[in-house]
Amino acid sequence: MHSKKVRYMTAFAAVICLAWLVGFGWTVKDYLIGSGRGVSLAAPAEQPAPEGQAGKVVALGDSLTRGTGDDEGKGYAGYLADELKEEGFRASMVNLGIKGLTSAGLLEQLGQKEIARQVGQADIVLLTIGGNDLFLGGQTLSDLSAASLAKLEDAFAANLASILETIRSANPAATVYLLGLYDPFRELEDGAETSRAVRSWNARTMETISAYDDMVFVPTYDLFQRNTADYLFTDRFHPNGRGYRLMAGRLAALIAEEGGAP
């Protein structure tokens, strides 16, 4: 190697060494001594919804929306997106479901700015909620008395009304599909009683939602009524892939029937 070339390289290396030293010194100054500048975070401007793009579906709710129990992890929302794509609808699908969410939790989630913005952009809102309110991680199963059920139902109906109210005020135009509950325990010992509780719960839900325009109650109770075990995941509570496909099929039919809003 030429001596001259090496000389250039060495000089060049010295220069970049200096550059890194500056970077290092700057870091030390900013992070150890303090940058001297305060927080300069302006309040973010309101984001207008992007116009003229393909339809948007926003799925809200609990583990059913999340897709717990589905081997492919898609859940009814994922299968619905697949079906809509097959039928030629271009829609983006945003899944904001959180495992274990109760109606109170959903109400809190809807209070977040970005969640409200997402709902505001949606053409279709999908919703599963109430399962965790009713079954409370198994507690309800030991106390199926009419009085305690009525108490749960009242609280849920009030929350649900606020949820639908919030969705409507964030988005006056979107169609909302609320999926009803099915009874995962119908083949157990107390099956008759849990089924009765679920039916009553669904009736109350349907009653609440009927007060709003463009909000549709989609039953799932009948889907899981026969051969329940075949459609449930090994936890005997969440649907499996087949169960979710049934739910998605029902939604796809409804959405396509409306002329494919998205």
């Binding site: 060494c17 870091t27 992070y31 973010p44 983006s92 945003v94």
Partner: protein, 323 residues
């Protein structure tokens, strides 16, 4: 002295080590850039054409769902969620598309292990190879003191570390600009998050430009590499065989990566240099391996180790019998 340094640089450049380092960087970069491109494709596939806010919100919800099964990572995940939520609330995109964002992520992930490894390639046989080849006698018969010889070697090492970081920066820029476009240098980055008692503290958060953040990152990466380089330098004096030095240093680095994940209750481990190499975490606001560690603390520990290694190097080299 300058002539001595030139002499050392000539030897280093003659070995074509930088070419090998460049090739390693390019191969890895191509892999990561491709993985990144696939990742964003998969997101598009799943969500459709959406803006970054939607993507970020989806990411946050996905993580929230993972919380219940996160086990020991729960706290870390929670902090990450809080941080992203902060980005979202303040309308700042945490990964503005473009080359600088990719470089930022890549540097953050390579500073702890990958860059030090590259530096080791240069540093680990700086002295020991001279000994195994027998050229050290020629070097020491010159009319200069032994410490001057060693100092010239060390300066050459510092310059080499700078070159390695420069190569890394240049190549990662070229490849990512090619794949993601040359934009987003002035995009804002939120920094100054702190983790206190397992909670994210956003009171000291401030906005910086991405180019500034990148320069600071490279500064820190340079320092980390320099520390590892100095320690390898010491090993190349203490050990006759380059392979042994390489093995020792590798063991240290890898044990550091493992220890960082499991020492949270072993308090005195924070004085080990390899647990302190994650300087980038302080910039990005990830929780440190041991509660209570700060940037200042880690820098001090690393500086002390470096000074000790240098002192040991000179002490041994000037007294050792060379035959």
């Amino acid at each position: 002295m300058i002539n001595l340094v030139h002499n050392e640089m000539m030897k280093l450049l003659g070995k074509r080590r930088f070419l090998i380092i460049g090739i390693i960087i390019v191969v890895l970069l191509a892999l990561f850039a491709y993985a990144q491109a696939r990742q964003s494709e998969a997101v598009k596939e799943r969500l459709g054409e959406v803006d970054w806010r939607t993507e970020l919100q989806q990411q946050i919800v996905d993580w929230q769902n993972r919380l219940s099964s996160a086990g020991q990572w729960r706290e870390q995940l929670e902090i990450q969620i809080d941080q992203y939520q902060y980005y979202l609330d303040h309308d700042v995109n945490p990964s503005e598309p473009g080359a600088p964002s990719f470089m930022r992520g890549f540097t953050e992930n390579s500073a702890e292990l990958f860059l030090p490894l590259l530096v080791m390639i240069v540093a680990v046989d700086l002295v020991s190879s001279e000994r195994s080849m027998g050229t050290i006698k020629l070097l020491l018969t010159r009319p200069v003191s032994r410490s001057a010889v060693l100092l010239s070697k060390y300066i050459a090492l510092v310059l080499s570390v700078s070159i390695v970081i420069f190569l890394f920066a240049l190549l990662s820029y070229l490849i990512s600009a090619l794949m993601f476009g040359n934009k987003g240098w002035t995009a804002p980055v939120l920094t100054g998050f702190e983790v206190r008692g397992g909670e994210l503290d956003a009171s000291g958060v401030r906005l910086v430009s991405q180019w500034q953040y990148l320069l600071q990152q490279f500064g820190l990466a340079w320092f980390i590499s320099l520390v590892v380089g100095t320690l390898s330098f010491m090993l190349s004096i203490l050990m006759r065989s380059s392979a042994a030095g390489m093995g020792t240093m590798l063991a240290c680095l890898i044990s550091g990566a493992i220890l960082s994940n499991m020492v949270s209750s072993w308090d005195s481990a924070k004085y080990l240099f390899m647990v302190n190499l994650g300087l980038m975490d302080y910039m990005s606001g990830s929780p440190p391996p041991i509660e209570g560690m700060t940037l200042g603390f880690s820098l001090t520990v690393l500086a002390v180790w470096m000074a000790a290694a240098l002192a040991a190097s000179f002490a041994v080299f000037t007294r050792k019998d060379i035959y």
